[in-house]
Symmetry: C2
Subunit: 455 residues, 2 copies
């Protein structure tokens, strides 16, 4: 049956685990976006989610013809997938849009890069062909993110009748940084994106950078707009009050012992700026010794992309710096930093509930949902220290302590101000932050895009 609403994303709403005895088990993915999209698509028999088979379980499911209604997994050859996803999307496009390269030596666009680029083309083509085959006449297709930047163009060639949208969850590169890419790659990315009827970004700032990269004459009939993804407050509060979270909370409370908390939760992703966050916390303890013994920094920093050397080195640096701070300032009954490297959502939610101060200081971030989640869940109200370079800044900045993420002294001063905020003002700010954070929850975010695409 042809579908009338299609979502295309690298990651699907479920994955398959393959047990030792060859049995396949489907598991629904977590995360606010996946839940929200699933909710928006639920009860739409005409909807289809097209995604890549990610692991061995997924591939085996495709080969056996196992599937769930409303989901189509693409079994892209493993090497093509690795070259496209790791070799281009995560090593090139992610770095370009987040401005992360060590410019004197990286990137290098050589013959090997061009071989990987062909894989990116093939991976995007696989999605475009699947979508072209599955879509009903005039159907709406909502393509997700930088892994699939060519899909709108490739799909438009095959199915000019479709309404095609694309949403970028990362920042978009500044025009000066975009110019790092080889000319034909820039050209191809813009061509791919401009195959869409509508392009969405988290902020008007990223949308404007895209417009400037494309140039006014090329935008043509493609509309470019901001849809700032928010959180589902009710659902998040429900998740945060499950018994397993209560258990974690009791454990953390015992460790923290009634002290103030500065909470951060991130993957150890280069853009998240965890190292400078720790340096700022150290400068706080040096410059404002009155906080020694009275505050604990709960830093969830769970490993990410450990296949890349630069990420392994970064993760190592985070652990090392936390150790240094604990050695320098720690006492018999006070450990200044508690780092958790487990990707444990229940523990993160427990930390959210305890947060007096939330530290969100990325060097560049498409949105950053942690900045929106903590104020919604925090029990006593929390003061937010927020980077001006986070996509969440335009919505939350007015009630946050704004920082330049490179400025460790400014961040230390902001931590002090946030820790010192009188309770009534903290409660007021938290209320406004939570309201802004929940303004456009995932389901509404998706439906608004769908409506704009069809309208």
């Amino acid at each position: 049956m042809p579908s009338h609403v299609l979502v295309a994303a690298n990651r699907g709403p479920l994955s398959y685990a393959l047990s030792d005895d060859g049995e396949l088990t489907a598991r629904r993915g977590g995360g606010g976006l996946v839940s929200g999209l699933s909710a928006a698509l639920a009860g739409r028999p005409e909807a289809l989610w097209v995604c890549a088979a990610l692991g061995d379980g997924d591939r085996e499911a495709v080969r056996r013809g196992v599937s769930e209604p409303g989901v189509r997994m693409l079994d892209v050859p493993e090497q093509v997938y690795a070259d496209a996803y790791n070799g281009i999307a995560n090593s090139v496009l992610w770095f370009v849009h987040h401005h992360l390269y060590d410019i004197p030596t990286e990137p290098v666009f050589d013959a090997e890069f061009r071989r990987r680029w062909q894989a990116y083309e093939a991976y995007n083509l696989a999605f475009a062909e699947a979508l072209a085959a599955e879509a009903a006449p005039g159907a709406a297709v909502l393509v997700q993110d930088y892994q699939l930047a060519l899909v709108p163009g490739l799909l438009r060639e095959r199915r000019p009748d479709l309404r095609i949208g694309h949403f970028t969850h990362t920042p978009w590169a500044d025009p000066a940084y975009f110019r790092v890419l080889p000319a034909e790659v820039r050209e191809r990315l813009l061509w791919g994106m401009l195959g869409a009827d509508r392009l969405g970004f988290h902020t008007e700032g990223w949308a404007e950078l895209f417009r400037r990269c494309a140039g006014p004459e090329r935008l043509g009939r493609t509309a470019v707009a901001a849809y700032p993804l928010g959180v589902d407050g009710e659902e998040l509060r429900r998740l945060a009050h499950r018994p397993e979270v209560d258990d974690r909370l009791a454990g953390l409370r015992a460790e923290v012992g009634g002290r103030r908390t500065v909470v951060r939760v991130d993957r150890t992703e280069l853009s998240k700026n965890i190292v400078r966050g720790l340096l700022a916390y150290r400068e706080l303890l040096v410059e404002r010794p009155e906080w020694r013994g009275r505050v604990v920094h709960l830093a969830s920093a769970y490993p990410s992309r450990q296949d890349l050397a630069v990420y392994r080195a970064y993760t190592e640096r985070v652990a090392e710096l936390a150790r240094e701070i604990n050695e320098e300032f720690g006492t018999a009954d006070w450990q200044p930093v508690l780092v958790s490297v487990q990707d444990d959502f229940a523990r993160s939610l427990a930390a959210y509930r305890m947060a007096d101060v939330a530290l969100v200081n990325p060097v560049r971030d498409g949105m950053n949902l942690v900045a929106k989640e903590i104020p919604v869940v925090s029990e006593a109200g929390c003061a937010l220290v927020l980077s001006r370079e986070a996509g969440a800044f335009p919505e939350l900045g007015e009630d946050a302590f704004a920082v330049n993420p490179y400025d460790v002294s400014e961040t230390a001063a902001a931590l002090h101000a946030a820790l010192s905020l009188p309770d009534p003002e903290r409660a007021e700010r938290t209320k406004r932050l939570a309201a802004a954070a929940t303004a456009l929850p995932p389901e509404a975010w998706f439906l608004r895009q769908l409506e704009d695409l069809l309208g």
Copy 2:
């Protein structure tokens, strides 16, 4: 006697060497700019060059009261100088204007940075006070470069009667990159620069980036214009035909053995992109095996800023990569790359004379005089492979092979095209390149600024 025309620059026109028996000897500095400025100031008894004492000899000269007419050296305390020059100018401002930081970990603006910033303030103040004391009423002061960005503002406070110009020899940062700096530092730099009546840059592009960083309402009465520094063709040809250069040329000819040459001459400065140049040369030998045995890459890459770990690592990588290429492709009678790490101007000029192809591929460069010097000196005419990010590009781009400096494959293809250029076209292009390169030689460059400042 008060001076009517003053130049302020970190480096002066001469330096003093201190011998073991305590004798001081003055030496005139080399380099096109210093020679040109010296020529422009010669025969002006009312002119004064204010500069910093750089080494022990210079400091000793200041202490003994030894000086040359028309030069005043400032004996800034050694630690202040080191913090200002290495700690701020070369480690921060140079990196910001050239976009060189490894953003996930650098820069870190902490309390230590702010201590160094105070040294930069003190160093700039020393210049401003000396200039204020030496300048005749209504005198013209021409301040040079990013080391002295605060001097115009500080001088304006002391001497509102003066005509103050400032010239930036580096690029200017893109506004998105300039935002990396702490807010008060950005503010202070703009305040310092906008103390001038006129600001000069090598290109209209850098001038426009400055205007965008300052914002239209702040520019006020400060004029911002491009003065693209060129070379003195006659003088350069004279230097290139001295006997010592002839000697070096004979030696190089013996090594190269009648093969084509690809010539580059740079400090091993991170922005010069020597590593990607070598990678492009390697890709040329892989993709176009017809050049094996028929071309030699003469790469002068003399060590620079070896007090910084990142520069030492870069210098090491250059040497290592050259070795790898020679091992992979070299034969009994052919060494594909000849790296010279001596800062030997005579050898560089000899290489210029032999150049069939000049490779100038910086990731970002204020001007790049090598791109202008080689076509002027090259004997058989040379084809220029030139980065679009070099300040020389607007003047020379039309007759060059343009490359994206990150695109090693494009650079390899440009080397092939440049090596394959038919002789008559090469001669034609070289003639036009040399004409553009000599359009505004140093003396005229200086006098035009002086005229505009007084006019």
